[in-house]
């Protein structure tokens, strides 16, 4: 148990150290003081506003990470989470604004529609892979751009409203009814004695994200489907011979990955803004990929990684007061990702070698014959 703990935490620690060193070096190179910067970042994080903002953001990154991770677990690289969630957001926002349902039905309706759209869009890449052998990395990335084009076309030609002056067109979908707005958790948390300033809201989506994480764990590690999924990723031949249909598996997994991207879309849509327009958050899909890699495709790890990623993003906003460009967070994040991935691999290989060595020692000690008796 202790060994497992060290095995899990050591690489992250080393990676964090490496990222910190690289970040400090860059800061020194541009003439800033890393110590002051760190102090500014930590103190900025140490406020209710920051904690809430980080929690909200990390709930989005978490779901995005899960969407990517379910593909990674199978050896399928769904880099198209970004396009899938954006197109699901647009179409669901447009559809949801046309429909009026009571709140208890409207929100689940939105989720289901988003999951279907996201899943179908991802399914295109899955079908292309199965039927034509198209590499899913390239096809999902191409579909990202296709999604951008479709969204731009629809926004400019169909989904627009006039602004206050009545002259200009603003490309965005109609505002969703209040029944589709996801409630926040402020009331619930205030019962525990916390007090929130005006405008600071803990998104209800946090609970959805947690639920999705639990479902992810249960499905992947406690169901037959999840077992088949993991095996297809670890050893496709073994999976095949145990009866898993690889084509069906690929299409199903891509669909689920896209459906999770649809769930992701509902985070920003139902919690903030309530329209799809120019202001809708972008790049969430790519963050999810990074977070999934950082979290080793495990729901607990991804949760941790999502919080770290969001914290780095938030904390670097404090750096502009120190004269450091906030963009340095990207270098920190990138270095953290690469060094984490490297250290995971090294630790993995070391532990595998150690296990093999132990197993062979055990085997040889059992199989070695006892010393022969000297016959006098």
């Amino acid at each position: 148990m202790k060994n497992r703990l060290i095995q899990t935490l050591l690489p992250i620690g080393v990676a964090a150290l490496l990222a910190a060193v690289v970040g400090a070096t860059v800061m020194l190179l541009i003439g800033s003081n890393p110590i002051d910067a760190t102090r500014a970042m930590v103190s900025y994080l140490d406020s209710t506003d920051s904690v809430v903002a980080v929690l909200n953001r990390s709930s989005w990154y978490y779901v995005s990470g899960l969407a990517a991770a379910i593909g990674f677990r199978m050896g399928l690289f769904n880099i198209g989470v970004d396009g899938q969630y954006r197109i699901a957001a647009l179409l669901t926002a447009a559809l949801g604004a046309e429909v009026s349902l009571p709140a208890a039905l409207h929100v689940p309706f939105m989720f289901i529609v988003a999951m279907i759209i996201g899943g179908a869009f991802a399914g295109i890449a899955g079908v292309l892979k199965v039927k034509r052998g198209v590499n899913e990395v390239i096809s999902t990335i191409m579909l990202n751009y296709v999604a951008t084009g479709i969204i731009a076309y629809l926004l400019i030609n169909y989904f627009w409203t006039r602004d206050a002056s009545g002259r200009d067109l603003i490309p965005k979908t109609d505002l969703l009814d209040r029944s589709a707005w996801m409630p926040d958790l402020n009331a619930l948390i205030e019962k525990f004695g916390f007090h929130f300033a005006q405008g600071v809201r803990v998104h209800g989506f946090l609970l959805v994200a947690a639920l999705v994480g639990i479902i992810f764990y249960v499905v992947v590690w406690r169901t037959r489907f999840g077992f088949d999924l993991r095996m297809s990723g670890l050893n496709p031949f073994a999976a095949r011979s145990s009866g898993v249909n690889p084509n069906a598996m690929i299409v199903r997994t891509m669909f689920i990955s896209g459906a999770l991207a649809g769930v992701l879309a509902m985070g920003p849509l139902l919690s903030e803004g309530h329209v799809y327009g120019d202001q809708f958050p972008t790049q969430l899909g790519f963050t999810g990929i990074a977070v999934a890699l950082l979290g080793r495709n495990h729901p607990a790890g991804i949760a941790f990684a999502a919080v770290v990623w969001a914290s780095l993003e938030r904390a670097s906003q404090a750096l502009s007061s120190e004269g450091i460009p906030t963009e340095i967070s990207r270098i920190l994040q990138g270095t953290l990702l690469l060094s984490a991935v490297i250290t995971y691999e090294i630790v993995n290989r070391r532990s595998l070698a150690a296990t093999t060595r132990r197993a062979s020692e055990l085997a040889s000690s059992v199989l070695t014959p006892a010393k022969p008796e000297v016959i006098r």
């Binding site: 191409m142 751009y145 963009e327 990702l337 991935v341 490297i342 691999e345 090294i346």
Partner: protein, 440 residues
């Protein structure tokens, strides 16, 4: 009397029908396609379709993708999948913009290549030394490259005249253009030669003018960087298939353990190959920055690294194949960028016809599902064209909306990959993790 042994007739001695060889068949197909293009041009009165402007744009648009594909070639031929080509191109654009702004275009090109090489070496460190999954490393590299260039742009370009976080100040000067003398109006020792090809082209005669336009577009107003990029085709072919280095490289990509047993330092060869790969991608980025926008601009690359990878697959991991694919892609993209809306409409019809022809070849091969699928996609394009033309009215001509043409390169790449020949033969060990001492 001894029997005289009669040697068996060698198949090379037998007279063969001219259509029997694959190469002759491809030539015939190319000629038929060219006549069809010319026909479409005449019928639709879309003169720009085969103008020298279009072909010049085809070359200029196709080269970055071609260079990315060549970068992918060197990497995959040695066994490492390079998804990070996009990131290396981005690094190339930034370094080219930075150095070009300070010291001029050719220094910019050099720095762009160096930037790409750095990316390639990082990818090599991760995949070869540390043995990370190639795709994971590539994805991480793309994220790092995008973030780093944004940070560096913020550091070096904001506050400068013409610079900001998303673009560099303009490159100092540009590379001189050349044209072929005597045929395409090139200059020879200060004397401007006539341009007979262009004269032919402007006559708009069926087939003759189209061919003149093609030749003129290929040989006029190209700068040395373009010529350098084209020369890479024979150089790369020579290096990979006629030098010991190339042989070792390819063996590392087919059977690394066999190469290792013969004394090839697989790790070192992969490092070299990935450096070359990154350099080529960086050159592609330099081309975009210096020949395209004339500066570094955020989002300049926008997927071309991945399209290059698709060209690699389409070209069956051969330089000439990559070049053909990139030229086809460049033609369609180039027309979209340079020519009027009517030409793009003609292009839609052309694509539909090409797909229909592809469908017929699938029918001849008795491949029913492929036939139906290709015919369906061809029908989609044809329907779009017909419906659009029907809405043509005096005051509002039918044009393809800008958002759709934006999607064109990406949809095109998907089509390329979906209809790529089934006889693809990637290097056997591409993507497989190999450590010293492994077998296979």
């Amino acid at each position: 009397m001894t029997a005289v042994a009669v040697p068996p007739a060698d198949s090379a001695d037998l007279p063969r029908a001219w259509w029997a060889t694959r190469r002759n068949r491809l030539i015939v197909i190319a000629i038929v396609c060219w006549v069809a293009v010319s026909l479409v041009r005449v019928l639709l009165d879309a003169d720009d379709l085969t103008s020298s402007t279009a072909f010049r744009a085809a070359i200029r648009t196709g080269i970055p993708v071609f260079l990315a594909g060549m970068g992918g070639l060197f990497a995959e031929r040695c066994g490492v999948v390079n998804i990070g080509l996009e990131g290396m191109m981005i690094l190339g654009t930034w370094f080219a913009g930075f150095a070009g702004w300070h010291w001029g275009p050719w220094v910019g090109v050099l720095f762009g290549v160096i930037g790409g090489v750095l990316g390639g070496l990082l990818h090599a460190l991760a995949t070869v030394t540390f043995g990370i999954d190639h795709i994971v490393s590539g994805v991480a590299l793309n994220i790092i490259a995008a973030g780093t260039t944004r940070f560096l742009a913020d550091q070096f370009f904001t506050g400068q005249i013409g610079g900001s976080i998303s673009q560099s100040p303009p490159v100092k000067g540009s590379i001189h253009e050349q044209s072929l003398p005597f045929l395409s109006g090139g200059e020879l020792f200060g004397w401007r030669s006539p341009n007979p090809l262009q004269w032919l082209e402007f006559k708009h005669w069926f087939l003759i003018s189209d061919t003149a336009g093609l030749l003129n577009g290929l040989t006029s107003r190209h700068n040395w960087l373009t010529i350098l990029a084209v020369v890479i085709i024979p150089i790369a072919t020579y290096v990979l298939w006629r030098t010991p280095f190339g042989l070792r490289l390819r063996s590392a990509g087919e059977r690394p353990s066999a190469a290792d047993s013969l004394g090839v330092d697989v790790y070192r060869i992969r490092y070299s190959a990935l450096a070359i790969s990154g350099g080529l991608a960086g050159l592609g980025g330099s081309y975009l920055a210096i020949n395209g926008a004339g500066r570094y601009s955020e989002g300049q690359v926008s997927g071309r690294g991945f399209i290059g990878l698709a060209m690699l697959i389409f070209g069956n991991w051969r330089p000439v194949g990559i070049a053909i694919g990139s030229t086809l892609y460049g033609f369609i993209e180039g027309v979209r960028l340079c020519c009027s809306g009517q030409t793009i409409v003609a292009l839609v019809l052309l694509v539909s016809l090409a797909l229909a022809a592809l469908a017929i070849t699938q029918l001849l091969r008795r491949n029913w599902p492929a036939f139906v699928g290709t015919l369906f996609v061809s029908g989609l394009f044809a329907t779009y064209y017909i419906v659009g033309k029907a809405t043509d009215s005096a005051d509002k001509e039918f044009t393809v909306p800008r958002e759709f043409t934006y999607m064109a390169p990406y949809v095109l790449t998907l089509l390329f990959l979906a209809f790529a020949s089934q006889r693809l033969r990637p290097p056997a060990a591409a993507g497989k993790l190999w450590r010293k001492g492994d077998t296979g």
